[in-house]
Symmetry: C2
Subunit: 403 residues, 2 copies
């Protein structure tokens, strides 16, 4: 029987919001409420910055109906933060925890967030302050190590797949070249999801560019030319993170060339989303070099992660269950860790939740398996076996013309 | 008892696709199939261009299950066209109709499409060729005269409303200025729909710019500054059609300034969609002039009209019913016309379908009622009474922080 650690709980949400990040929040609350030792359950507002500002909201008294409404609401209900705590910042977090007698800390986020969780945890250990620190996984990028996939990805991938299903039919109705720019700095999972609704070779996306492959403008133009000659149209998925052989993102290069200020976050990442520059540049390149008249570019932007009403059921369930597991681990006496989703079987689709070390997931990136990438410009059908169970049943569609 | 006109039917789809344009296609087929005089039911591929190329698909033999799958599929199942037939083009259409003994013509589209329908109809009359020519309404722009609203608008408006509900929460979680550019060249209905999920004054969009109001960059900056000072964030909806006092669209001006070729369609309209230039320019303006760091812009683009799985039930029903009405008019002996949706009552929401003259809807634009526009930069709550029945029940959301 583990000793009962008495104290308050802090739960935070960090990084980019997702459609199911509040399922995780509600999952932690449900797992802890009424358990031995658990006193107040506090939500820190805007992630770690809410801890240092002592900006908390009490969560333990919320009615289940309210929790259920929160759970189905997209984006971080507690607000989010991009702050990456350094040693000094962690001292302030620790001071706030000590003052509030916080003994349980749950941080819902991606790999940068799990690193923040790890640093806070180590600071507490150095002060011999007993703390249970858990990272609850979340990222639409799907790039956490030791995870088969991550909560948030399935719903964002569903959005991308549905958008491409419709846009493929739009492009079939009014033929031309269409470029869609998808989120994903280092990992191409979300961009790969563009092909999940494809029914045949004639369906777009006909070309898919992920950050795992070095991007060459000449190769890109030759690819587009070949597809356009074959099908009389071309639908393209491009990750915002595509980069040259020096790992310089195209979007950042283009933004600099245009004279716009290049913005970096506290993790040193160049800002890629929230601009149409990459899509517009590629569209212009095609118009000029290939002399194709109808060329359009859309950048899916923030809609991918927060659209209200486009949620994968399995994603929502797993976001909640992985948070239940984090709560269960903490009250059962584990000191720290992250919860990883691991796949048990494809058919029937079945997952298990496993405790892993914070250091195993912190600040590391998982990439698309090379076997999914075809010719450097497309995604293999085998990706459907992997990803379709995560996005759920796609809308049924049918057509009267094929080309 | 009207005389029975024996012959074949041609149905076409024109202009920008919508989520429910195939409901209209299926509606026409259902209304005509098996009726006296009706022989083959042909779909012309890619609108009027399919007529002159004699590119038809036979529709009368399709199983109901296939029709139902087509009906729920977004984008034009027969393909679309932006061709605007002139006198010469109409002679070729007429020659194709004569050759194929086409006596019934249904053209599903917006105001440009109803004009095409009108010209074809007049050409037939000049040749004393008996033709029944009907326009079936469709446009996400919602800008057809004598219509309370148009099929396609409700679903596109639902997409915009859901996107803003999520993006408002995203902007609340990670505060800054966020600009979203919405489709709509002359009419602001779709941009106005951005406010349908707003629960209070604190919710975004905090500013809404429609083409019915002349756009001034200085006024825009002052508006953003005031909102940002009040709420610490600012979510903005901008129509792609916003223009200066000379009615020159900002997007076209900016594209020209950037050196990109400015594209016009066969109706003389400058191409506005399929580029992020307007949003990026406004974001840059705010960064430079107001010194706000986190400024993002997304352009919703083609997702608004073809996203698979975001459909308003009333929109789908009315698209089908208005097509039923067009078919019923044709077989009951009416020679031509367009079907207008008119509102009978708000509570309960109830509409009627009314035959109007082709000339009454052709090439004319309806605008947002001035009473819906507040201060030139927002939309009144009364717009909800008008538009909510058209988009259907929005997702339920709840929050833990308000500011």
């Amino acid at each position: 029987m583990p000793h009962t650690l008495r104290g308050n709980v802090v739960i935070g949400q960090s990084g980019g919001p997702t459609a199911v990040i509040n399922q995780s929040l509600v999952g932690v609350i449900e797992a802890l409420r009424g358990k031995p030792g658990i006193e107040k359950i506090l939500g820190c507002v805007h992630g770690v910055s809410g801890i240092v500002k002592e900006h908390y909201v009490e969560l333990q008294g919320l009615a289940q109906a309210k929790l259920e409404r929160i759970a189905v609401t997209p984006s971080s209900a507690l607000g989010s933060s991009r702050d990456k705590p350094d040693a000094e910042y962690c001292k302030r977090i620790f001071a706030s925890f000590e003052k509030q007698n916080v003994r349980y800390f749950f941080y819902i986020g991606g790999n940068d967030s799990s690193d923040a969780c790890r640093i806070v945890n180590e600071t507490a250990r150095e002060h011999r302050y007993e703390l249970r620190a858990f990272h609850v996984p979340k990222t639409i990028d799907n790039d956490l190590q030791h995870n088969d996939h991550t909560p948030g990805f399935g719903s964002a991938a569903r959005f991308v797949a549905c958008a491409f299903m419709g846009d493929n039919l739009d492009n079939l109705a009014l033929p031309g070249v269409k470029i869609n720019v998808i989120m994903g700095r280092h990992a191409g999972f979300l961009t790969a999801a563009s092909m999940l609704g494809r029914r045949s070779e004639a369906d777009g996306p006909h070309l898919v560019y992920v950050p795992e492959v070095v991007f060459h403008a000449d190769k890109f133009l030759a690819d587009v030319d070949a597809v356009y000659k074959k099908w009389g149209r071309c639908l393209i998925a491009v990750s915002e993170g595509v980069h040259d052989e020096h790992r310089r993102p195209m979007a950042a290069k283009l933004a600099e060339m245009s004279g716009a200020p290049v913005e970096r976050d506290s993790h040193g990442n160049v800002q890629l989303s929230g601009s149409g520059v990459l899509g517009d540049f590629l569209a212009d390149l095609i118009k000029k070099q290939l002399k194709i008249k109808r060329v359009r570019a859309d950048t899916f932007g923030y809609l991918q992660r927060s659209f209200a009403g486009c949620v994968s059921e399995s994603d929502a369930r797993e976001a909640r269950e992985s948070a239940h597991e984090a709560g269960r681990l903490a009250v059962s006496g584990e000191h720290d860790g992250s919860v990883a989703i691991q796949r048990v079987s494809d058919a029937p689709y079945k997952v298990a939740y496993k405790r892993i070390e914070l250091a195993d997931v912190a600040a590391k990136t998982r990439h698309l398996d090379p076997s999914f990438i075809v010719n450097g410009n497309n995604i293999a059908d085998s990706f459907k076996t992997y990803a379709l169970p995560l996005v759920g049943k796609l809308p049924e569609i049918d057509t009267l013309i094929e080309k």
